[in-house]
Amino acid sequence: MMMLGLGSVGLVLLSLAVQSGHGAQDSAVWSREETTERNYYTRYHNMSEITAWMEQMKRENPDVVSSMVYGQTYERRNITLLKIGLSSTVRKKAIWMDCGIHAREWIAPAFCQYFVREILRTYKTDTKVNEMMKNLDFYITPVLNVDGYIYSWHNESTRLWRKSRSPGTGGCTCYGTDLNRNFYANWGMVGVSTDCCSETYCGTKALSESEAWAVTDMLGKMREDILAFLTIHSYSQLILVPYGHPNISAPNYDELMEVGLGAAKAIKAVHGMDYTVGTSPDVLYANSGSSRDFARLIGIPLSFTFELRDKGEHGFELPEDQIQPTCEEAYAGAQHIITYTHDKAFYSYAATVTATLWTTLLAAWVSSAILL
C-alpha cells in the first residue's frame, strides 16, 4: 500500500513537471523597462536604429549573442548578422533567417528584430527554446539589402524601392538589381527581366550583386550545418516552398508542404489569418534566381519564403499597429518549422523506434503482471 501511495505521488509530481516545462509561455508582469522595450517592437526602425539595436542585443546578452559582418553592399556598407545560441565546445547545427532582401518590405526587418527579442526573452524559462538554443545557432540578418532599405527611408517618394542600389550598365541609366533574382539558382530563366529599369531585373549575371554574393558565400561555408533556411518578405500572406521554376520539383516536396502547412496552421491559430502554402509557380508566379531556391539547391532541406501581411489593403505600407500581431503569428509559423527541424535532427527515427519497442515491452509486462 505504501508503495502504491509513493508511486502515485511520484506520478503526480512527474506530470506537473512535464506540463510546466514543455513549451509553456510564462505570463510575467512587465517591468517598466520591459514595457518601453515592448513598445520598441511595435514601430519601424531605420538602419542606424537597427544597427544600434544589434549592438544592444550583444551588450545585453554577451554569452549568447555575437555578430558577424559577412559582406559589403554596393555602397560599401556592412552586411551584418546576429549569431544567437548557447555556446558549445562542439560544432553546432544552424538555422538561417534573413529579412529585408527587398527594401520596401519594412515588416520583414521588424519581424527579424521581434524574433531575436523573443528567443532572447524566453530561452531561460522556456525549456523548448532553451533546448533549441543549446543544440542550434540562429544566424539572423535583420536587413540584407542595407542600401535599398536606407534608400527607402530617404523620403516618401523612395518608400517603394525594391532592389539593390547598384547602377545600371551598358547605357541603361536606371539603378538596382532584384537581389531575389540574382542567385545562382536557375538564374535568368523565368520570371525575370533583362531591362535594368525593371523591378525584377536579374542583373548582368548571377551574383553580380555583392549582397547576393555575401549570402552565397556564407551558405556555402555553412551548408553542412544549416538545417533550415527562412527568408522573410511581404506582402501576400504566403509560405512558399522551392522551386520557383514550374518544371522543377524539390525532392522533398511532400515534406516541405507538410511542414509549411503545419506552419500555416500555427499562424492561423494566433490571430485567424490565412497563409497559403505552395510553390511560387503554383500560388504566386514563376521566378528564378531566388535565395530560397539556392538554399534548397545546395542541400539545405527545409527552405521557405514567408510573405507576411497583408493581402493588398495596405500592401508594403503596413500600419505600425499591425506589426505586433503580424510578428506574433509569423513567430508561431517560424517556430513550427524550427521545432520540426530541430526535433528531426535531435530526436531521430531510431529513437522513435526504440521508444515504441520499450512501450510494447512494458505493456506486455503490465498485462502479464495483471494476468498472473
Binding site: Y184, M189, T194, P319
Partner: protein, 303 residues
Amino acid sequence: MDGLLFSDLTVWSMDWTLLILLVVPTVVHGNPTVTVRTGSGPPVGSNQHPNSVPLSEDTQTTTEVREVVVEEVMMTGMLNPSHYPARRAATVVQHYLNTRYGSPYRWIFLSKVHSGSAEDVAEMRKYQLELTMQEIISNVSGQCSAELLFPGGEGQSAPQVQASCEGLLQSNTTAQEEAFYQQHRASNNMVSGNDIPDSYGHMEPNMKPFWHLGGVASSFIMLRESNESTLYNMAQVANFTQLETEKDQLRVNYHVLLHEMISQEIIHWKLLVTWSPEQGVQVLQTELQPKCHNCEAPPNTTN
C-alpha cells in the same frame, strides 16, 4: 505469506512500469506526424551544379531586352482555389465589385476563393468562381458567384465581369456618406492630401474616406488593365486635390500608385473622379504617368 508477497511484487512492478511508461515517451519523443521516408532529400554535399537543369524550350537567349517568361499553360477545368489562376481572376472580380458598389465608406476585398473553373470559349477565357468577399470598413462578408471573360488575341480590352453577392452590401453607409458629402460639397474649403498611407502605414482619420475613394476609383483602372498575368492593388494615394463641386458631384483629382504583383512594378496614374451618394463613383479621366523622368507621357485616356 506467499500470497501477500506476490501481490506486493505485482503492485511494485506496476508502479515502476507506469512510471517508466510516463518517463520514456517524454524523454524520447519523435514528432508523431512525421513519416520518415527513405531517400527524402538529396545527399548532403551534393555536387549538383545549380544550373544543371534542362533549359526550357521556350526560353531563348537573345541580347534584346525582354521579359523572360516560360509560356504559361492556361489552366482549364476545375481550378485549385489556392493557386494563382483562381486568385488573379477573383481579384478582378474584387475590382469589378468596387466599381459597382464602392464609395468613401464601402471598399471591398477578396477574402477567400472557394472554387473555380476555367475554359476556353472561342478566343476568350471564361472563369467561374465562388468567392467570399469582405467589405473592410464594416467588416461584413458575403458570398459571391462570378463569371469573367478575358478577351483573347492581341486586343487590350477589359475583362467582362458578372457577379452576384449575398449579404455583402448589408452595412448601412447612408448616414456616413451623406454627412461626408454635405461636409465637402460646399466650395469654401477644398481638401487635399498626400502620401496616404504614409511610410509607416499611417493616415489621419479625416483622410480615410479619401483613401477609400482613391482605392475605389483605382479599381476602374485596375479592372480595365487586368488580364490573366496581372494582379493589381493600390499601393498608395500619392496625392489628391479636391476641385470645385460640379453638377452636385464632388470632384477630386487623384495621383495613385498601383502595385502590379507579377512584374512588381509601381505604376503611376492620375485620375479625375466624381462622387455623390446618388451617382456613386465615376472616373472621368485617367492618365498613365511615365515611370522615368525623361520618358514621354502617353496620351490622356478620357472615359
